[in-house]
Symmetry: D2
Subunit: 342 residues, 4 copies
């Protein structure tokens, strides 16, 4: 039976990409798309790539919730809590692509996002849904919080090494790079991005506590790490280069074994061979994550590079992956895209 899905905040980049994936999902159909500012207008007016393919008009948030079994929320932070509350009350599945339910600690949420948890019961029902790390906890849940793009790439890169106790966790550095769609529709005009490259929000990006929260679960202890994002003049992709000091005895073989074992059954993880490095080019337009392992013997450092498509594995692809888990479908349903060579 086809799943009826609705999208809140469908007119942003995330919504447009989610529509593209859901239209070819196979087991789901889009029942409604919601918008605050574009009610009555077609999504294909904003995204001409959809003309003739998806010309549904936007409706109100309540209308979306009414006619859907699964609701995806692509809303600015702070706005998902109320929507989630309604959906859960109505017995629907709520899949949040925003940040409202990512942090478990309200103090952290207040510090980094400036808001508070409106309903603590609701928050306690949410699951942080990075399937490769927390699949079992997702099954059976109704309030699904999808990780951010940087956290997805960073956590997949570092989790196995920390979980197996192979690296020190007191001085982790994550140097991350993202294409412009990571910032949504509001990024700068072409000529001011093109041929440029810079860091931004140095050591102040809101994804920092989220990454720490997940890696602390691997470490079973407090972690404070340094996270610096950069903006790349490309459309899609997040690339992370992660640095952590090796513990004594953490040989190349043990490191590799840890990752191979950890990800051996993961369809969407491509663990590269020695000498290869993760490249956003090789995962673009797919739900895959490339990971490469490097050891700097001179300095005793483990370097892990990872690459994802920020809009797919870093956002809507992972959201669909979570829907598949929750609805009991094959996790790959509608997600077996092959990255193109160019």
């Amino acid at each position: 039976m086809t799943i009826k899905v609705g999208i809140l905040g469908a007119t942003g980049y995330t919504g447009a990409e989610l529509v593209r994936l859901l239209l070819r999902h196979g087991e789901a159909e889009i029942a409604a798309v919601g918008s605050n500012n574009f009610v009555g207008r077609r999504l294909s007016e904003i995204y001409p790539n959809l003309k003739g393919i998806f010309d549904m008009e936007c409706v109100s948030q309540d209308a979306v919730i009414d006619c859907s079994d699964v609701i995806f929320a692509c809303l600015p932070h702070g706005l998902s809590q109320e929507a989630a509350s309604k959906c859960i009350a109505a017995g629907k599945v709520f899949i949040d692509l925003g940040a409202d339910f990512r942090l478990e600690d309200e103090a952290q949420y207040k510090e980094w996002y400036g808001g508070s948890f409106e309903d603590h019961v609701l928050h306690s029902e949410a699951v942080y849904a990075l399937p490769e790390l927390f699949r079992e906890q997702i099954v059976g849940k109704k309030l699904i919080s999808c990780p951010g793009c940087y956290p997805t790439a960073s956590e997949l890169a570092l989790f196995p090494a920390i979980k197996r106790g192979l690296v020190e966790t007191d001085a982790i550095v994550i140097d991350a790079k993202s294409g412009v769609t990571g910032a949504g529709r509001d990024h700068k005009p072409f000529a001011e991005c093109n041929e440029g490259m810079s860091a931004y929000k140095v050591a102040q990006h809101r994804h920092t506590p989220e990454i720490e929260q997940t890696l602390m679960k691997a470490a079973n202890k407090r972690i404070r790490l340094t996270f610096v994002p950069h903006l790349l003049p490309i459309n899609r992709g997040v690339s992370c280069t992660c640095y952590a000091r090796l513990k004594l005895g953490a040989t190349e073989e043990r490191i590799r074994e840890a990752y191979e074992d950890f990800y051996k059954d993961e369809y969407f993880i491509r663990l590269l061979l020695n000498g290869e490095t993760a490249n956003v080019k090789n995962v673009r337009m797919s739900n895959m994550c490339e990971i490469s392992l490097h050891i700097d013997r001179r300095t005793g450092m483990l370097i892990v590079t990872s690459a994802i498509d920020n809009m797919i594995k870093g956002s809507v692809g992972q959201a669909v992956q979570n829907m598949n888990i929750v609805m009991g479908l094959d996790e790959k349903t509608g997600l077996d895209y092959i990255p193109p060579a160019f």
Copy 2:
């Protein structure tokens, strides 16, 4: 029953893209990939995007033909004739993505490509396979010649207006622009393409007689047109802006009606509304062709702009579309890709 397909010349850009499409076709499976220079090596060594997804080793041309029912040839011009001969003799379907069978007139072939027709019977069995224009002639054929990328975009743009006698055919100008993959793997290094733009092979490109051949079928008379290609610093896409003088009485309404009628049942043609213009961005990664119609009343000129993804509708997508027709499948099978917004 699954169709067994083989690819000759699989290591070029065309081969790599064809593999990507065929792996998700649904009714076909790749039986073998062929190469002259890479026998015994995996395609995924050359195209790391395919790692873990398609790690088949390349074999010889004969080995490919032996185990396949349908053979796609992605070979440099001049090399398809012998391969076609073998395939046809063995009762296989041969789908050529090269230029060997595109021109019907051997004199033209000699003039523009410098070779001759090795087997005239073979050539007489070939069909020029642009489905939206010549669908009926493709059905039942075994030797399928796929159009070039520029011809696909140009012919789809101009055929209806000429067929309906709405424009003069004595001074047609086609100003075409292509992304770098149009030139295959041998194009210039990044820094020498990026931020550049120029015409090339001005009025000397080999696609010229091919476009003329098709448009003459619409006009029922001789056509000589001016064709100028340009290189764009983007990966994919062909955009054509076509200029033809309007005949007396060719009103905007009649022009639009002609195109609407001509393409009314065509899934892959997106005829734009007044005021819209074709953009390669809106068809990238799909088998679609966007067409927009413009009338310059001041000069009495019809201007048609068209846009395709040169690697899909301009190459492997159209080849698969032709396979679907020949094999009696739904023409859209494995081709219903939605262009992404970015």
Copy 3:
């Protein structure tokens, strides 16, 4: 003696680029920069490339005029007339980079720009200042109207052939392509330009009557031509491909001779050899214009391609070139930039 120059509308892309050139001019110094919305703020707050190099604060229009001998106006159309009036009344030189004084015929101005000539005497004193075509008329003038970017590239490409009577003028087609800075700061975000390409304002662009006006001076008769601009995902550059039917007897030799003769003393014109084509890459960051000549014998068509940097030869470079002429300086002063290879 150093020339004191002022810039009106300095906060747009044109103003920022003009500042860059004037700071290294050698014979001029920037006395003031003007803005409506940014009075009291530094240009280097908006353009961080200028930090520490040019930190002057913006002042009002009147303040700019007061302290300058030469005023460059980088204003939206409609706003230059009043400023010009003030400057001319005060005995200053006014160099307009906008469109207010480009068209000589008020009816045309009304049709294409929707405004009227506020002061006919003022308009009669303006000179259309494309130095390579109208140098003598610029000398001694005080009200200088600089050509648009598309007109600069188009007129330089076609003027010699028309002037020498080598081509028919009844069916000229100009297919033009521009980088995003041609649209100023208001162009679309990166992800919606990047990897895209489309025509826009097909046969409706305001530069059309300007090109016609100049070419009519070469032809000594009425010209209506077809002009179609396209947007390229590059920062800088305008490339034009111009099509005109050859007259009888217009041989390749005569065509080449005409251009060589016409441009033989022009420092900023690079007339390419047979077989070469104009590329924006080879003129970027310079005041040069590349021109290549091509004859399509099959169709009797002359094809001329031209390339300029839209921000320099197509805008502020040409404006400085005009200042040099008016002020009696060597025309190359401050303009001998060499295009970089990459």
Copy 4:
């Protein structure tokens, strides 16, 4: 008196860019350009941007040395030693843009480059010429070894903090990003770089010991650091994000003071304010280096980002800066380029 300069290895990207700068230097003239493979051919055949501007033919290495007072060597590593030997013997100034004289320790050179020092006296006469750090040592020297691009950006970013003892030096991480010209002419075709991003030579890049060598001079003790370069799909620019643990008492004020003091008289250093980050866009096409300082209080980390144009400050601009110093000219001569806004 004009300085006669010659260029060895003029046909690479470095040579082409050096020609562009030297032609507008003011106090130097290019006497000869050398090449192994292109003797008798014009540089402008390879670099069409130079057509009509610099059409000198390439000559042999010996011919270049004969007619020049200052010789710039843009040669692959291993080939500069012999050329330097000849030049020094002939009393000329030799400015090496390659790696042969950068490392002082022959063992390091052997380990990282696989060669040996052919002439130890010669090596002892060479000076590592990063003017902002070692200006006094450059004066009066004849054998000038210019730093690599990554080392220039990295050393300028970290030297002051280490020199003043404000950071620990045992776990420095440098995450560096470069445009494609850093790899010279041999980089991959457009479609295989564009929209991609990856690390390469992780912890194995030859610039590592060079950076360590310089920073050890600041620290007065042994340093082993982790260096990971990445390839960006842009033409020009190197961006480094450097991580070092703060020592106790190293407040934000002391850090800023150290950098302000260290660079207070440096024309080419743009030290950014709090909240700003270095962007390659803001230094492109110039000899400038942008540096921004960031403190991560949560982790006690100093983060310094730096940005240069790899072809200018990271290569030929710095070489010309060194020539200016050696020849007693104003250091800015021919180098006061302003980065464009786009």
